[in-house]
Amino acid sequence: MTAAASTLALEIPWGVLLGAKVMIILTLLPLTALILGYVFLMKMMAHMQSRLGPMDPGGFHGWFQLIGDGIKFIQKEDVMPADADRRVFALAPMIILISTFVVYAVIPAGPRLVVEDLEVGIFFALAVSSLSVIGVLMAGWASSNKFALLGALRAAGQLIAYELPLVLAVVGVIMQAGTMSLQGIVGAQANGEIFGWGAVGNPFVLTQAVGFVLFLAAAQAELTQTPFDMPVAESELVAGYQVEYTGFRWLFFQMSEYATAFALAGIAATLFLGGWYVPGVEGTAADVLGPLVLFAKIMAISFVIFWVRFTYPRFREDQLQAMAWKYLIPLSLLNILVTGILKVVF
C-alpha cells in the first residue's frame, strides 16, 4: 500500500526518500490501528455481544469514536508513578511502537508498492516484531508495580515461547517458495500450480494449511490476544504491564497492539493467501488493485484473530507454555519435515 516505487525513486535523494517512507508508515500505522480498532473492537465485538457499540460520534455508527479517543488521550495529563524508572518508563511504549513500525516496511502491497523489498524480508519482519518483548519488559519493570512486573514476566516467557513456532511455521513456506523475500513469496504463489492448473496460482494456505494454522495460533500469542492474553489479563493482573500507563503512552500500547495485528495479518496474507496478487492483473493495475486485495485479505485474517479473541477464555501461563513446547513446536517441526520430503519427492 505504500507508494515508494523503487524504479521512480532513483532520482530522489536518499534522505528525502527515507523521510517520505517514514512519513508514509507513520500515517499508515495509526490508520490501520484505527481501522482494526473500529471495525473489530468497536463494532464486531459489540454485535457479537448483542450490543451496538458507539453510535453517536461522527454521525454514522460512531466512526469518529476512536479518533476522538485518541485526541482525548493526547490531551491527558502524563501520569508517571512516583517510584517509576522515568526514562525506561517513557521509552518502553516507543520501543514497542518502533518494532511494529519497522515490520510495515517490508510488506508488499503491489508489484512496486513496498517500502523496502529486502532479500530476507520475512526473516527481518519476524525478527523485528519480537523486539516488542523488550519494550514490554521495560514497561513492566519501570512501572514499579507488582502487577506490571508479573505481566511483563509473563509476556517475556510467552513471547519467547511463541517466537519459535511462529518462525518454524514460516519455514515451510520459505522452503516451498525458495526465497525469503516477501515479493518472491508472492510471486511463487502467483506462479504456482495446483496439480498442474495454474489459473489462480497456488496460495500456500492450500499446501501449507498446517503452517497457516500454526502461524495464526502463534500470531495470536504474539499479539497477546485472548486466549493468550495473560500479560494484560484484566481479570487477573488488571492490565499487566500497561497498568500504570495513561494518556498518549497508553495510546501507543493500544496503537501498536492493533498495528501489529494488522502487520502480522499482512504477513499471514502475504505468506499464505497470495498477498496482493490478483489473477490476471499485471503492472500498474496491480499496483492499484493490489493494496485493496491485500487489505481485504488482511481484514479476513484479522476477523479470525478477533473472532477467536472475543469468544475464548484465557489459558493459564503454564498451559500456554505446555501448548507451545509440547504441541505447536513439534507440530511445526513435523510440518517442516513433511514439506522437505514432499519438496524432494515432487
Partner: protein
C-alpha cells in the same frame, strides 16, 4: 526502580500492620494485594497473597471494606424498615433476602401468609435465583478471560429483572414482602410474560453451555481447580451450589421445606467433582431447574388474597426465631430476637457468602494467581453478602 526490598519492608510495616493481616514474609516471597480494587473481586474484597513466583504460598482475605453494620442498624429500625435494609445484603437476589426475615417475623407472630402469596414469593425467589445465576454464568467467563459471556449474562438477566420490576416496582430492591403476605398481587399479564421469558432463560442456558461450559480452554482452566472436599466445606459452613458441587446432597428447599417448595417436584443437582467447573455446572443446571420450578408454580397458582390479616402497626411479640433458607448464594438465615417492640431486638444475619469465602485461606494454598481468580469467581460471592 522497581520495588526494592527496603520499600517492600516499609510497605509491609505500614500497611499490613494496619490491617492486621496474617501474612509473614520470607525471602524471595512477594506480597500481592488482590483488591480491594481489583476487577476479579467484584466489589471490595481484598485478598493478601504471598507469592512465590506466581504460586500462592499463603492467602489472607481481608473483608470489611463494605461493612455497613446491618445487624446494628436493624436494632434501630422497625420491621418494615428492616425489610428495606436487608434486601441490600445480597443485592443480586434481594427478593430472596427478604423472605427469611419476613418468615422469622411471621413465625414469632404466628401468622401465615395466604397460599397465593406463598406461591408468588416462591416464584419471585426462583426468579431472583435465575437472575443471580445468569450473571454468574457470564461473570465466570469474564474472570477466566472470555469477554463475551458476561454480556450475554447481563442481557439475559435483564429479562428476569424486568419481570421482577413489573411485579414489585424495583429491579434490585423489591421490598415486596410484608409480614403476613405481599404488598400487592402481580399485575395482569405477568404470568404469561413470565412463561415467555422462561423460554428465553432455557435458551440462554444453552448459549452458555455452547459458549463456555464445553469449551476446552474453559475446562482446562476450571477442572481440578479449587477442589473443596465435602467434609471440609461443611466444616467451613460452605453452602448452596458450592457445597452441592462437592457432592453433598443438601438443599434447604427440599430438606427444610419452606414456601411452596414441598409442593413442587424438582431435582437437587449435585456433582462429585468439587472443583470450579463443577460449581459452574451445578449452577447451570440449577438455573434450568429454577426456570422449571417457576413454570410449574405458575401453572398451579392458587387464587385468593395475598395478605393475611395483620395489625396496621406491626409489633412482634417477645420470642426468637431462626429461619434459614436456600438462597442463590447458599444458606441464608436470620436469627431474630424480639422483645415485643415495633422493631427487632437483635438480628443475626447468617449470610452465605461470609462462610463461603471463609474457606479461602484453606483453598488458596498452592494455587497459581490465575487459578485464584477462577476460584474466587466460581465461589461466587457478593460483597454485600460477606460484609453485611
Amino acid at each position: 526502580m522497581a520495588v526494592t526490598e527496603q520499600q517492600q519492608q516499609a510497605f509491609i510495616g505500614k500497611h499490613l500492620a494496619e490491617a492486621q493481616v496474617a501474612v509473614e514474609l520470607q525471602d524471595e516471597d512477594m506480597v500481592l494485594n488482590i483488591g480491594p480494587q481489583h476487577p476479579a473481586t467484584h466489589g471490595t474484597l481484598r485478598v493478601v497473597v504471598k507469592l512465590d513466583g506466581e504460586r500462592v504460598v499463603a492467602a489472607d482475605p481481608v473483608i470489611g471494606y463494605m461493612h455497613r453494620g446491618y445487624e446494628k442498624l436493624t436494632e434501630y429500625r422497625s420491621y418494615p424498615q428492616v425489610t428495606t435494609l436487608i434486601n441490600r445484603i445480597d443485592w443480586l437476589s434481594s427478593f430472596a433476602n427478604e423472605v427469611p426475615f419476613i418468615h422469622a417475623g411471621e413465625q414469632i407472630m404466628g401468622i401465615e401468609a395466604p397460599p397465593r402469596a406463598v406461591y408468588i414469593r416462591t416464584v419471585l425467589t426462583e426468579l431472583s435465583r435465575i437472575a443471580t445465576f445468569l450473571l454468574f454464568l457470564g461473570e465466570m467467563g469474564a474472570q477466566v478471560g472470555a469477554i463475551t459471556p458476561v454480556f450475554y449474562g447481563f442481557r439475559d438477566r435483564e429479562y428476569v429483572l424486568n419481570l421482577i420490576e413489573a411485579a414489585t416496582g424495583g429491579r434490585f430492591h423489591p421490598n415486596f414482602n410484608r409480614i403476613g403476605g405481599l404488598k400487592d398481587d402481580v399485575p395482569a399479564g405477568w404470568i404469561a410474560e413470565t412463561r415467555r421469558m422462561m423460554d428465553k432463560v432455557f435458551e440462554s442456558c444453552d448459549t452458555f453451555e455452547n459458549l463456555l461450559e464445553g469449551n476446552e480452554i474453559f475446562l482446562a482452566r476450571t477442572k481440578g481447580i479449587g477442589i473443596i472436599p465435602g467434609d471440609v466445606g461443611k466444616g467451613y459452613g460452605v453452602s448452596g451450589s458450592n457445597l452441592r458441587a462437592s457432592g453433598v446432597d443438601w438443599d434447604l428447599r427440599r430438606d427444610a421445606p419452606y414456601l411452596a417448595y414441598p409442593e413442587v417436584d424438582f431435582k437437587v443437582w449435585t456433582h462429585p467433582g468439587g472443583d470450579s467447573w463443577s460449581r459452574y455446572w451445578v449452577r447451570l443446571q440449577e438455573t434450568r431447574e429454577a426456570a422449571r420450578i417457576v413454570v410449574d408454580l405458575l401453572d398451579r397458582l392458587p387464587s385468593g388474597p395475598v395478605m393475611a390479616k395483620v395489625p396496621r402497626i406491626i409489633k412482634v411479640p417477645p420470642g426468637e426465631s431462626w429461619v434459614r433458607v436456600e438462597n442463590p448464594l447458599g444458606e441464608m438465615g436470620y436469627y431474630v430476637v424480639s422483645k415485643g417492640a415495633t422493631g427487632p431486638f437483635r438480628v443475626k444475619i447468617r449470610s452465605a457468602s461470609f462462610s463461603n469465602v471463609s474457606i479461602l485461606p484453606w483453598l488458596l494454598k498452592g494455587v497459581y494467581v490465575p487459578d485464584l481468580i477462577t476460584i474466587l469467581a466460581s465461589l461466587y460471592f457478593i460483597l454485600g453478602d460477606i460484609d453485611r
